[in-house]
């Protein structure tokens, strides 16, 4: 036996793969599509670490981090950078105002010249938003002339919204930690920050969940048309091929599909890479150029996938002896045993168990355990399903004739039936788990339970140069605003510098103060002391009428502040704290405007809390615009995105689409094997029709035959999917909540696939039932 013989046999098999008539190439193409999807997914997976590394490098390179130990003086090579981030919808827009202080001021990456005041450079994604109809409100807020776009090197994703605009007089904000002076962008030599463990978990699970059904599909695809191939191989044996030769020819057939699949896979990957450039998950997007798989891994994929296809074929042929006059299956397969099948998912759970409860904080998930556990759980589905189908079908009683025909057929070949639905079951199980994880984690990412969202939803930090009263008035008149509560707040200490004891000072009108505490009565000029708040032991000490306190005392190392003296008045009233708009209780002194020294405004921060009209559209955008109109440096915070469901919907849609694609592919293969089976039974079908079987009976029996295993598959898939989802949520320390919508939608698609396959196989079935099949020739 030499290499030439091998090559010749394999080539013979490749030829058979494409010359087997329509079924032949349909099978080859389906196999190739399956292999192709697998290859593309594998390539994308191998590219992800690289993509994340590139993202991190870019992020570091443009860093202008505010927390710097050393302050540097203005020089020819410095630039003052102010953070002017804003939000649009629920997306953060990274904004920086740049004020170069000399000719050698450093430029941020991706920007080739400093924008002048009234100009800005924007990311391509932001430019698109600003130019779109939906971006009109944002354009109001960012009216500067767009003079260029930020290059790829200055962005961390294709969908990132970012801008740099020209600024002036930014230096005073350095003290407020709103701006910073730097002489270069970026940190050199900072260690790569590990990916958010939950995000990493998501990425891992997504790929395992998508890869598994494809793997199952490939395993099934290379066995398509097995009976026809067996007959062909038997014919080859008859004309003198030996057993080894036929095996090699069969391997060649599988190889053909796999190699074609590699080509498909490369194309799918390139398409997927481009598509990935336009996709954003949890505000993470990437540029196609980030997705470069390492050559070694790519080579590994290119070798491993065809090899696996050949291996599966040879394994499938292991229990088969191809004789010249037909195919003999060695011995009737033994009754399926349960214990080792249960072992797989149990082992999977066991691998995931140690990571339960780790959460995001210390969730240093072992990647191998995660992947191993998820894979084992999902593989467990494919191992358990044949047993479940066999066990259940064996116990199914006889019913109507169509039912009896279907059940008996399933009893005789439950393995084939189970193999057909394995892919669907794995896909559904994975998708359910994934959606649960997404839904849970998404809630976690967006829900901010501290704030009392029924009373206020936004916070506007008004800069000192803008009078609070006029700011509050402007915001109150903004479209969609129900109420505003304006406060000046800060600390009051017993000494102007390095105070020994200090407490909060909150100033506002009576209406605003009533949100902070239950007041006995309130008139302008009143001052209240609010003791008894958790962790606040200082207020009673300081609330001594006549005592002089200092508003906003400064600390060693902190910025120098204007300190204002204030005497605790004799008419001090006592009040009881209530939960404030921020969700916490606020103690200290509550001061009405009449009791506040005129110059206190210089010492205190000004904040306006805004309550929105829930029915008003774009209320948040209007508030942000109004805030920006007050002063460009106004910072606006949205406490909770009420549109979060919208965001989850898009992810759910994406997952749904992915699952539909995988299921459609599996459905196509189901249809092919279904038709193949029907054709083999052509004579039988004709004779059944001859003795008066209703077409409805036969059609129903075809439906049951697919529906029963799929129903069992979906049931098992739901159970495993919910288990896996629960475990994953527990791992991320997220409250377990079953997302029934996704369970129903996933099982719904699975059921739809059965229906469609049955419907599509009906016309050929009806055609096959014509009496032509009775002809003996």
């Amino acid at each position: 036996m030499n290499a030439r013989q091998w090559a010749r046999d394999l080539a013979q098999g490749v030829r058979f793969a494409f010359t087997g008539g329509r079924e032949g190439w349909v099978r080859a193409v389906l196999t190739a599509v399956g292999v192709g999807l697998g290859v593309a997914l594998l390539l994308l997976t191998t590219a992800i670490p690289n993509a994340l590394a590139v993202r991190h490098d870019r992020e570091m390179a443009r860093s202008d981090d505010l927390v710097l130990d050393t302050r540097i003086p203005a020089a020819a090579d410095t630039v003052v950078v102010a953070h002017v981030d804003t939000e649009f919808g629920d997306t953060t827009v990274r904004g920086r105002a740049l004020e170069p202080e000399g000719p050698r001021a450093p430029l941020p990456p991706g920007v080739d010249r400093f924008p002048a005041v009234g100009e800005m450079v924007v990311s391509p994604a932001l430019k698109e938003v600003l130019e779109s109809d939906s971006g009109k409100l944002l354009r109001e807020r960012l009216p500067d002339r767009i003079v260029g776009t930020i290059g790829e090197s200055g962005l961390i994703g294709s969908a990132e919204l970012a801008f740099y605009r020209g600024g002036e007089d930014l230096a005073p904000y350095i003290d407020d930690a709103r701006a910073t002076r730097i002489d270069e962008f970026g940190f050199s030599g900072s260690p790569a920050e590990p990916l958010d463990p939950v995000l990493l978990l998501l990425v891992l699970v997504v790929f395992v969940v998508l890869l598994m059904p494809v793997a199952v599909f490939i395993a099934a695809a290379v066995r398509f048309g097995g009976e026809r191939r067996d007959r062909r191989l038997a014919a080859l044996r008859l004309v003198g091929a030996d057993g080894r030769m036929t095996r090699r020819i069969a391997a060649g057939e599988a190889l053909a599909g796999a190699v074609l699949g590699l080509v498909f896979g490369a194309v799918f990957f390139l398409i997927g890479r481009e598509v990935a450039g336009g996709v954003e998950v949890f505000h993470v997007s990437v540029f196609p150029s980030y997705l470069n798989p390492s050559p070694l891994l790519a080579l590994l994929v290119a070798v491993a996938v065809p090899a696996a296809a050949v291996l599966v074929t040879l394994l499938a042929l292991r229990g088969v002896v191809i004789e010249p006059l037909g195919v003999v299956r060695t011995a009737r397969p033994a009754r399926r045993r349960l214990w080792w099948r249960l072992l797989l998912p149990l082992a999977g759970l066991l691998m995931l168990y140690p990571m339960i409860g780790k959460g995001r904080g210390n969730g240093d998930f072992n990647q191998y355990l995660v992947v191993g556990g998820v894979v084992l759980l999902l593989v467990g589905v494919t191992a358990l399903l044949p047993w479940v189908v066999e066990a259940v079908v064996a116990r199914l009683g006889a019913g109507a004739v169509s039912w009896q025909l279907a059940v008996r057929r399933l009893q005789l070949s439950s393995g084939t039936a189970a193999r057909m639905v394995n892919g669907i079951a794995v896909a559904v199980a994975g998708a359910i788990a994934l959606q649960m994880l997404f839904a849970g984690v998404d809630d976690d990412y967006t829900r901010n339970t501290e704030h009392d969202l029924t009373r206020a939803q936004m916070q506007v930090d008004v800069v000192r140069t803008v009078p609070l009263e006029s700011a509050a008035e402007k915001l109150r008149r903004t479209e969609g605003v129900r109420a505003v509560y304006a406060y000046s707040e800060g600390m009051a200490g017993d000494r102007p510098k390095e105070p020994e004891s200090s407490t909060w000072v909150t100033a506002g009108d009576c209406a605003a103060l009533r949100e902070v505490a239950t007041l006995p009565s309130c008139r302008d000029g009143d001052v209240f002391a609010v003791p008894g708040v958790e962790y606040d032991t200082e207020t009673p000490k300081l609330a001594v009428p006549g005592r002089t306190l200092y508003l906003d005392p400064s600390y060693e190392g902190g910025p120098e502040r204007a300190t204002v003296a204030w005497r605790v008045p004799h008419g001090l009233k006592q009040a009881r704290a209530r939960t404030w708009l921020t969700g916490a209780e606020r103690g200290g002194f509550l001061i009405t405007p009449g009791a506040l020294p005129a110059e206190a405004g210089q010492a205190l921060f000004q904040e306006v809390y805004v309550a929105l009209d829930p029915s008003a559209r774009d209320a948040r955008e209007h508030v942000r615009n109004a805030a920006a109109a007050l002063h460009p440096m106004t910072n606006t915070t949205t406490w909770a995105a009420t549109e979060k469901s919208g965001r989850f919907t898009s992810i759910r849609t994406g997952l749904f689409a992915g699952a539909v694609c995988v299921l459609a592919l599996i459905g196509a293969s189901l249809l092919v094997s279904q038709l193949e089976q029907l054709r083999e039974r052509r004579k039988l079908l004709s004779s059944l029709v001859a003795f008066g079987t209703r077409r409805r009976t036969l059609s129903l029996s075809v439906l049951w035959q697919t529906a029963v295993p799929i129903a069992l598959g979906l049931l098992l898939a739901s159970a495993v999917g919910l288990t896996l989802g629960t475990v994953l949520l527990k791992m991320t320390d997220t409250p377990v909540r079953v997302d029934w919508t996704s369970v129903l939608s996933m099982t719904g698609i699975g059921a739809a696939v059965v229906l469609v396959v049955t419907l599509l196989s009906l016309p050929p079935l009806l055609r096959l039932m014509r009496p032509d099949g009775l002809r003996t020739e």
Partner: protein
């Protein structure tokens, strides 16, 4: 034109499959309880004639009358119902459902007619006994020999006590000894239930079990009884 006392009668049947003319003016007639062999070379149109007579295939033209009813005037559902209740079928091979046991196979036509399962299987078992294959009741078709399978098929064809039994080359796949035994059992059982038998065969020794024969050649039939 219908001969008096005829149960099933066909006249001037024409049927073409595309350019291939299968029947070109063939006729046929059978009396209750009569066994008529349809002979002729391969491709002469014998099977097409049988399919037309049984209402499986609709002829392009011509009339088929069964028990005073015109077959071509019935719709597919009515003809299916007729086949279920009045006709029985035995084919050369491939007609037993491989997943069902022999007794379930025999019970199938009864169940299609709505007979409860237990009752149907009881009747099926007695027919298996009659054809001397009751020991195969629990076996599947794949586990029995060709001759045994054909006896099961005969039992299935007769279980509804049809008035006409259509047999298309019922011994075609059997050796002479098995074929003979199947023919003996088939004709005996048919006579016992006074079923008429339309027996399509190209074998003279099978045709010898008939009362008379008609010959089909090039889509035309010759009724030998009337010819002499």
């Amino acid at each position: 034109m219908t001969p008096p006392g005829s149960l099933l009668c066909a006249e001037r049947l024409h049927k073409a499959y595309g350019p291939t003319v299968a029947l070109d003016g063939a006729g046929f007639s059978i009396h209750p309880g009569e066994i008529v062999a349809v002979m002729g070379p391969s491709g002469s149109g014998k099977s097409t004639l049988l399919h037309c007579l049984a209402g499986i295939v609709t002829p392009d033209s011509g009339t088929i009358t069964y028990d005073g009813r015109e077959l071509s005037a019935m719709n597919d559902a009515q003809r299916s119902a007729l086949r279920r209740s009045e006709f029985g079928f035995v084919f050369q091979f491939g007609q037993l459902v491989p997943e069902l046991t022999c007794v379930e196979n025999v019970a199938l036509p009864l169940r299609l007619n709505g007979t409860p399962r237990k009752e149907a299987e009881r009747a099926a078992l007695s027919w298996l006994e009659r054809l001397e294959v009751d020991d195969l009741a629990k076996k599947r078709p794949g586990e029995v020999s060709g001759g045994q399978g054909q006896r099961v098929a005969v039992a299935r064809a007769l279980v509804t006590r049809p008035r006409v039994l259509f047999a298309d080359e019922p011994t075609g796949a059997l050796d002479s000894l098995n074929g003979e035994r199947v023919m003996e059992l088939l004709t005996e059982a048919a006579r016992a239930t006074s079923a008429a038998v339309v027996l399509v065969t190209h074998e003279a020794r099978v045709a010898a079990y008939s009362d008379r024969e008609i010959v089909v050649r090039d889509g035309r039939s010759r009724d030998m009884e009337h010819a002499i």
